[in-house]
């Protein structure tokens, strides 16, 4: 009984995110002209998966009370790189994929190293490294173009057994293979500890530096998986500055919708995934409601506002005003 309550308390953010997503998706699905079909789910899944990877990346860093404003640019960079090297025979393609993931890993490591050893504030560090990653992306792809192994791309953006979107399966696998072990490892828990109180974590002998380094590195890796997926999804690479930035900002929104505390120490990448799915559904809602095109951005803004305000309703229950301050 009490065990159940503790579990609920731990998972509240994630559950709320799932709730918001399910509610929105139901509204979307029931109003969709094509109805609740495999195609429609696949379309929604493919679009959302990308953001989900980036949101996971962001969540892992945010849990350490940091922030990574370069995730979108790592996505862009790895997208450009993948459009060069994820081609050819199966072996070449596999090497290419490894290269892309490795690049993401290295980008994340650079962020981590600067934040930890340079002792710089993550926000401005990642603004700066983000600019650098974008610069490299632009070197790689001064023009949109390139190609990707289409067999692999189609497999990963298609459907399993005709119903299950492969992208969702991949997302689940990544969550299971990266997030679950990480969050239950010593380093992962140290990441939570660091985010909650860095001094206390250090004093307690938790591996603070390793935790931060692992977080930024994993963020790089996950962004790279996002970049890879973008390539699979679009068959090309493009050094798009605005879109990179958009992903970064969206990832923050997704993380918050997913119940991850921006103060650090609380939340899960699973929550962030659902936050991403929910955020993407906001965009999809445009499709099923007949708004004047020029009023669509306003509608999206208002829905986002509403979604992020849901957490504020809990405030009514707070009877000790000191709890405002977390």
């Amino acid at each position: 009984m009490t065990e159940w309550r503790f579990w609920l308390a731990e998972q509240r953010g994630t559950l709320l995110a799932i709730g918001i997503f399910v509610a929105m998706f139901l509204i979307y699905a029931t109003n969709h002209p094509a109805g609740f079909s495999a195609n429609m789910v696949q379309t929604a899944a493919n679009k959302a998966t990308l953001l989900a990877f980036v949101a996971m990346a962001q969540a892992i860093v945010v849990i350490t009370a940091g922030i990574d404003l370069s995730v979108g640019m790592i996505l862009t960079l790895t997208n450009c790189l993948a459009s060069w090297i994820v081609v050819g025979t199966a072996t070449e393609t596999a090497l290419g994929v490894a290269g892309v993931l490795g690049t993401g890993l290295v980008c994340g490591m650079i962020n981590g190293a600067i934040v930890i050893f340079g002792r710089l504030q993550p926000i401005v560090t990642t603004i700066a490294t983000g600019a650098m990653y974008y610069g490299i992306a632009l070197f790689l792809r001064p023009n949109p173009g390139g190609s990707v192994n289409e067999t692999l791309a189609d497999a990963l953006t298609g459907r399993l057994f005709g119903v299950l979107p492969t992208s969702l399966v991949t997302l689940t696998l990544v969550a299971l293979l990266i997030w679950v072990p990480y969050s239950r490892s010593v380093v992962g828990r140290a990441a939570f500890a660091t985010g909650s109180s860095e001094v206390a974590a250090y004093m307690s002998g938790a591996p603070v530096r390793a935790a931060k380094f692992a977080a930024y590195t994993l963020a790089g890796l996950l962004s790279a998986i996002g970049g890879l997926f973008l390539t699979f999804f679009s068959y090309t690479g493009e050094a798009a500055y605005a879109s990179g930035n958009a992903y970064t900002l969206f990832s923050i929104a997704a993380v918050v919708l997913g119940g991850v505390s921006l103060m650090g120490g609380r939340g899960s990448a699973i929550g962030a995934i659902f936050g991403a799915l929910a955020f993407r559904t906001i965009g999809d809602l445009l499709f099923v409601f007949d708004f004047d095109p020029l009023w669509q951005p306003l509608f999206q803004g208002l829905v986002l506002m509403l979604a992020v305000s849901i957490g504020a309703f809990g405030l009514v229950r707070v009877r000790n005003r000191l709890e405002w301050f977390g």
């Binding site: 072990p181 239950r184 939570f192 500890a193 985010g195 206390a200 002998g205 120490g265 609380r266 000790n320």
Partner: protein, 513 residues
Amino acid sequence: MIAAEPLFRAEGLSKRYGGVIALDRADLEVHPGRIHAILGENGAGKSTLIKLMVGVVAPDEGRMTLQGREVAFARPAAATDAGVVCIFQELSLIPDLSVADNIMISHPPTRLGMIDRRRQRAIAEQALHRAGAGDIHPRALVKDLPLSRRQMVEIAKALARRPKILILDEATSALTASDVSKVFEVLKRLRTEGLALLYISHRMHEIAELADECSVFRNGRRISTFAAGTKTDAEVIELMIGREYKHAFPDKPVRKSNGRPPALQCKRLGWGDRLKDISFSLHAGEIIGLGGLDGQGQRELLLALFGVLRDCRGDILIDGDTVKIDSPVAAKSDHIGLALIPEDRKTEGLMLPMSVRDNLSAAAFDRFATFGIIDRQRQSALIDEMIRLIEIKTASPDLPVSALSGGNQQKVVIAKWLMNRPRIILLNDPTRGIDVGTKQEIYRLLRRLADDGAAILLYSTDYDELIGCCDRVLVMYDGAIRRELAGAEITERALISSALNVDDHEPTEASVG
């Protein structure tokens, strides 16, 4: 006096912080199977010594040996690995992690590289039991626990690390008498198991009960080491403060009723199920104590009076008029004139990185600002006066408060509110972690404020304080006032029995150190 080779030896340790010499060529020997108490005024360098020992900060000079081998720990983790474990004065628990996670934070049991939560939980439960805190749920989040429970978790955490040397830097300062006795049993058992214990506390009677030997520090130096029990309290205190020691508590004046309405009156104050029908009145010139076990609603009562809690029932009257207090802003306004010295100075009382000046100003802007514009001269004058009055030891008001010792930080918290000239002062355990000398100053200060017409409500976990300081004591139990004691009724026995909610005439089983 002890022939055997010490387990740990420090020689000539020094540490300077800018111009402040925190530790000045100090040395110390620690032997297995003994409890070594360290005493000293606030700022004597006790915590600094500990931090050097466990590698939180590096010494400027000096050397340390553990079991004959020279050691220099680069990080607390390294010290832990070598068996030197410390419970720091500033708690080092992680608020968002569970109790079990906290206890096993540095060396959790793993399986396939993942933390084995089932085993972790079992070990944590065991450690909690060993620390006498089996009532704490291992899955509870630390931030949801009251301070006294957190300190128990700290102790359990230290025990789970299987230390050779266990250092407790004022680890009992937030504990209630019953918890303290449990902890003492544990410590005594550890002593028989051959551990070396370093015990820092400002509570003389704890040291008397526990210590085998004592070292007194003053101004960063070890002044004297002696076997416990060879000196009287007064002698020890004189060693600590370097001057003659006078009676601890100022005299209580006989208060004459002047027929004025009470400065503060509560009528059937309630809040959720944590506060139940609290009624009392507090007159100008009076010091009322709040007693009882920790966590019986004392903190909530103070917060409710200060306007922090929402949806309170009942009435609060100031000078006989019902008032509505819905925020600290309202509480400190001139016509109410409340002040609250909060429990946890690090998170609630101070802005640590800010200067003494800014901290002293924070509650009293109205005293030196007109239309929100600060009059620098008036501000400086007031602050200098307050620093003198309260005798805050700081090189300059522009130093960050974090650089002051614990006791002086606490003085800043009190002084900050005195700047605003409050008429009713609420204090939540203001002498926690404060040395005897400073305590005396605070007692005298409180009495002086009362004599000048302030009404004071003082919550304390220290029974001596309630007995020595207060005109009346309200003992709380389970959110209600269980008993009111006045004058000669305020005895340790009466306080304890009513705190435990048992009849005064039966003997109590709670042993107090």
